[in-house]
Amino acid sequence: MVCSPVAAVTDALLRIEGLSKRFGGIVASDQISLAVPGGELHAIIGPNGAGKTTLLGQLGGEIRPDAGRIEFENVDITGLPGWRRSQLGLARSFQITSLFPDFTVLDNVALAVQAHAGHSFRFWRNARAEKGLREPARAALARLGIAGRADVLVSKLSHGEHRQLEIAMALATEPRMLLLDEPMAGMGPDESARIVEILRELKRELTILLIEHDMEAVFALADRITVLVYGRIIASGTPEAIRANAQVREAYLGEQTSIDA
């Protein structure tokens, strides 16, 4: 049962058509077509090696697809570099924490604010004294609940705090859509629950594409779920439909029971 959600949604914020990517003999993305309407939290699940991160890399502009097309707000962004996509309002966080370790937490987020506050050919004024950069950055930290760690060097943060900062930085770019790559990876249950709460809050105003292994979180949050196996979409639909889908159970969830939780 291969769904074709493209036709169903006309006012998609993000639209992917026939996206394909091979690495040598491995097909990482096989004719992926997907449409995410504004306001949706769309989760992508799939076993390891299903090509989830590759898909996100293509959406973020770091990996160039072999074929296919990506549209964001009805603009073809397939050939645009990553920074330009970010400027259009497509923000991404990374699975492997990817921050600026010798900057403070606040510096990190302020940098994300700065990226969207005009050009940076400003050579004289102390950027750390610019209210226009620091205050929105503090606000983003407050939303993620790590405002108290603003002046700590990033290298001193815990893993959970790193993940929160990742999201805060994506948020600070004032995006229209968030691409989140396993924001709960390596987190304890308490921290995960906290991120779920934060995402629930964020989905009210943002469209979110979420890649996540934590099934409990996915089924609690997602409006729709797409299942990716060996680079192909085997199913796409509401959490209920995915839970009931025999092919998904067979291909991916198999003996896993967490889907019924």
Partner: protein, 345 residues
């Protein structure tokens, strides 16, 4: 001064912070440099002024390299080429009868900026070893171009009989005036770099040193900022080249030999990367050792080995090498890092 020396993390000023070893050392060094000509005059040792003029000029070159190497993470292995281009700009114009510094120096700076623009535009698309090799290759290209400049002395170099003229405002033949001019320009360059690295521009430069991929993901077209940094560094080093040519009264391809580029890197790493006064500290230590080590070896070895000690002194770099190695291995922040009492990773 405190703010000049404090890196990323802001802290409240206090007397203990002001009296931290690195601040005391830098303040002492600046005072020493400011008073040096007076002492040299009293001690009747003009050589000191000559030596330290050279130290200051190379510190200026190292400061410019620090902007891209220390703050921007761009390991340019051809930075001495700007000393050469700046120097040749002055030398060639003097040779052709244009003696005004108001013309010579801006031309030196602009020529370097343009050259950096071309090299940067091509090399900054690469990373790591490739970047090092491309910058080196371009520097070697200009080096051999200099060797082939028959009209201007070729391999033997070009004597500059006339110092740059500044319409009577400055007399560069006056050793003391020239020394202070260099010192003022160095101080200005250090201040300029400090402003730069803490500005929005500097944030982008430093951000793309640690994580260029993330910088692009949050929306920065990093290439153009890195290129701008590369051009600024080249232009600043061009000024150092114009000063050096005036200092030695001579310019030859040897000025931009790759080993000179290596010297500049050593100064930056030794003094402390991404530190405002690191390159100055590095230049002072390296060039002082270069002067002092042969003499020390000679003095220590003569009682033991007699005549052979003179030969031994020629191998002073045998001591410099391990010293440098120790700093790289155990003091990642260089001398500045040692003084600050913290290691950087």
């Amino acid at each position: 001064m405190r703010r000049l020396l404090t890196p990323a993390v802001s802290s409240t000023p206090s007397l203990t912070a002001l009296l931290a070893p690195r601040h005391v050392v830098v303040a002492a060094l600046l005072a020493f440099l400011a008073l040096l000509p007076v002492y040299a005059e009293l001690a009747r040792n003009p050589f000191l002024v000559t030596l330290f003029t050279r130290v200051i000029i190379l510190a200026l070159a190292a400061t410019s390299l620090n902007l891209i190497l220390g703050y921007g993470g761009m390991v340019s292995f051809g930075h001495a080429v700007y000393l050469g281009i700046g120097g040749y700009a002055v030398g060639i114009m003097a040779f052709e009868g244009i003696a005004s510094g108001f013309v010579q120096w801006p031309v030196a700076i602009i020529a370097c900026a343009l050259f950096a623009l071309v090299v940067g535009a091509l090399s900054l698309r690469t990373r790591g070893v490739y970047f090092i090799m491309i910058t080196l290759a371009f520097a070697q290209l200009v080096y051999y171009f200099g060797v082939g400049l028959d009209r201007y002395g070729g391999d033997d170099g070009l004597s500059i009989r006339q110092r740059s003229g500044f319409a009577g405002l400055l007399d560069l033949t006056n050793r003391t005036q020239f020394y202070y001019l260099c010192l003022v320009l160095l101080t200005a360059a250090v201040y300029l770099t400090w402003r730069l690295v803490n500005s929005r521009f500097g944030m982008v430069l430093q951000g793309s040193r640690t994580n260029d991929r993330r910088m692009r993901a949050i929306g920065f077209p990093t290439f153009r900022y890195r290129l701008a940094g590369f051009v600024i560094a080249g232009a600043l080093c061009g000024l150092a080249g114009a000063l050096l040519a005036n200092h030695t009264g001579f310019i030859s391809p040897a000025t931009m030999h790759w080993t000179r580029s290596g010297d500049l890197i050593v100064m930056v790493v030794l003094g402390g990367m991404a530190s405002s006064f690191g390159p100055l500290l590095g230049a002072v230590v390296l060039l002082t050792l270069e002067e002092a080590l042969p003499a020390v070896i000679r003095a220590l070895a003569t009682p033991l080995f007699g005549e052979v000690a003179v030969r031994m002194a020629e191998y002073w770099q045998i001591i410099l090498g391990p010293l440098f190695l120790l700093v790289v291995l155990f003091a990642r922040g260089g001398i500045d890092g040692l003084l600050a009492g913290s290691r950087r990773d």
